[in-house]
Symmetry: C2
Subunit: 328 residues, 2 copies
């Protein structure tokens, strides 16, 4: 099996790469497991190449909006492609044309390259809870609730979801989409995203720094751990093609937690001292954005298919402490 | 007001052009009525120019996927654009790339040209009931039911709906989408579309020709008359911008009728002789497609906004006899 990962230098891309190496096999067109023999890691930045005996791993720096990158990436046909590369919400909002170009046209470039292959490769794309929003949103998001993004990132992801559906229906690819919850706890630094605090309110105090919670304590957020996110990608890849049906979009089961519950988990798992590094100053613009997000998701299909689920928010805090904490 | 109509040579385009001339005014950015002074009729084919004292009407032959057409169409900024040009379902299914190019990229070209204008033009796009289908479809389609197209035409229209939403949210355009029911009775000849019989079973017998109904008599179809379709476009144009909210997609109220009810209306309105020209031979492939369509639509927002509605199927048959029948 030759596997291509785009966005491989990102935090989820790196974890997915390592998990695939550990797993060692993936489902092929016959739905049986086959050894992964080659991996191509694509990103705008250099992707780290982990040690993986028996797997030829190559890293490639390139831009999926460019024809020459696409030609290089798919010069050799792949069996599976995990497509994580994207311009994220903050930047998509700031630079509309860049977001459209990378998130929509870049994805289409990949889909067209996969379609041109002689085989029917499996394709797994990361999508987002940011596809939901707006004034017609029901209290619980179901598998057949209309995307109503209130941001450009969510728009282009919803567009790509439709493309993956149709390319799959036509038999050009064997496509699947994972509509990710807010992934908590992200390692690294706070950023300008409205969701930044969801990770920051756990990460910073555990690393000895203060953090502010800019939303009311009762605000519901739909979250999953980075480990779950990686499992979602792989579980979605492994679903037999004929199980999925027309709609290739899979909403995995996240946890619905309030900001207060997140803080309480921090206290239980990380201790009083960490908890006391939290401040609660409402930031009205951020609060408005976050309160407009969908807190409750049914995830009926994914639950029926036995998707991995984080048992509680305490576990999510522990996963960060085990996998990603940067101790000073 | 300068008004651009794409797909102006099509059967709905021609009717819309005439109706706009008759109306004479359209809502402007101040939500007040302003006289239509210029109209540009764009199509791949030559658009007929109706007589319209006081309105400078120009026809232009061009392809919306081509930069030079877009430059010519929007050389002079418009105030309103009705976008009806599209590659329809049969052809989109046969020629995937053509459908994608015209329906997605062509629409984006227009949106980008409108965005480049100094004003914020009103934009009304025709979308389709073919955005719905698939295995997650509820019994009644609501305004927040996810598009799950089972055809490429519906896919690209659903993609464009999302683009219109986001271009509107960003303030680039003042966009609106009309998700049309099956329009019955279309004038002209039968075609290869699965929906062809919906018009054919009324049109052909009334014009003296036999017609077959290829679906079981209880099959539900969601329909509206061509007159209603034109009203939907104009009503949707006229909605005040701040009424609509984030989701710019409007599902107008169609009629849910069975094939049997359609035939009975034909007998009542067109007579026994016309009715006896119908045969009922199930065509399994067509029947499967049509039975997969959504028969019941809530259209809650459009009903609340007082959208025009065909009172019954008898009226729809009468409209054809008044407007479009070709007597031999």
């Amino acid at each position: 099996m030759r596997v291509v990962i785009t966005g491989a230098a990102g935090f989820l891309g790196k974890k997915l790469t390592r998990q695939l190496i550990e797993k060692g096999t993936l489902a092929g067109p016959d739905e049986k497991q086959h050894p992964i023999t080659e991996m191509l890691l694509v990103d705008l930045l250099d992707s780290p190449i982990p040690d993986a005996p028996g797997i030829a791993i190559e890293a490639m720096v390139g831009d999926i909006t460019k024809a020459d990158t696409i030609a290089r990436v798919f010069a050799k046909p792949c069996d599976s492609c995990f497509h994580l590369a994207a311009v994220m919400s903050g930047q998509s909002e700031e630079d509309f044309d860049l977001g459209m170009s990378v998130n929509m046209d870049g994805t289409r470039n990949i889909l067209q390259a996969l379609r041109a292959q002689a085989n029917t490769p499996r394709f797994v794309m990361a999508s987002t809870a940011a596809t939901m929003g707006g004034d017609l949103m029901p209290e619980i998001i179901r598998d057949n609730t209309a995307p109503q993004p209130t941001n450009s990132y969510g728009t282009w992801k919803a567009v790509c979801e439709l493309m993956v559906n149709d390319f799959s229906r036509k038999g050009f690819i064997n496509g699947r989409v994972v509509r990710l919850p807010t992934i908590v706890v992200r390692p690294g630094k706070p950023n300008a995203a409205a969701s930044s605090f969801c990770s920051g309110m756990i990460r910073e105090p555990l690393q000895g720094d203060p953090a502010n919670v800019p939303v009311p304590p009762d605000t519901e957020i739909w979250v999953a751990s980075p480990r779950s996110a990686v499992h979602f990608f792989i579980q979605t890849h492994e679903l037999p093609g004929d199980t999925i049906g027309i709609t290739r979009i899979i909403t995995p089961p996240g946890l619905t937690v309030t900001a207060r519950e997140m803080a309480e988990a921090l206290k239980r798992v990380g201790g009083e001292e960490a908890y006391n590094r939290l401040t609660w100053e409402i930031d009205p613009p951020i609060s408005t954005i976050v309160c407009g997000w969908a807190g409750k998701w049914e995830s009926k299909r994914a639950r029926a298919w036995g998707y991995n689920i984080d048992p509680d928010f305490d576990s999510i805090v522990k996963i960060f402490m085990e996998d990603d904490i940067e101790r000073k």
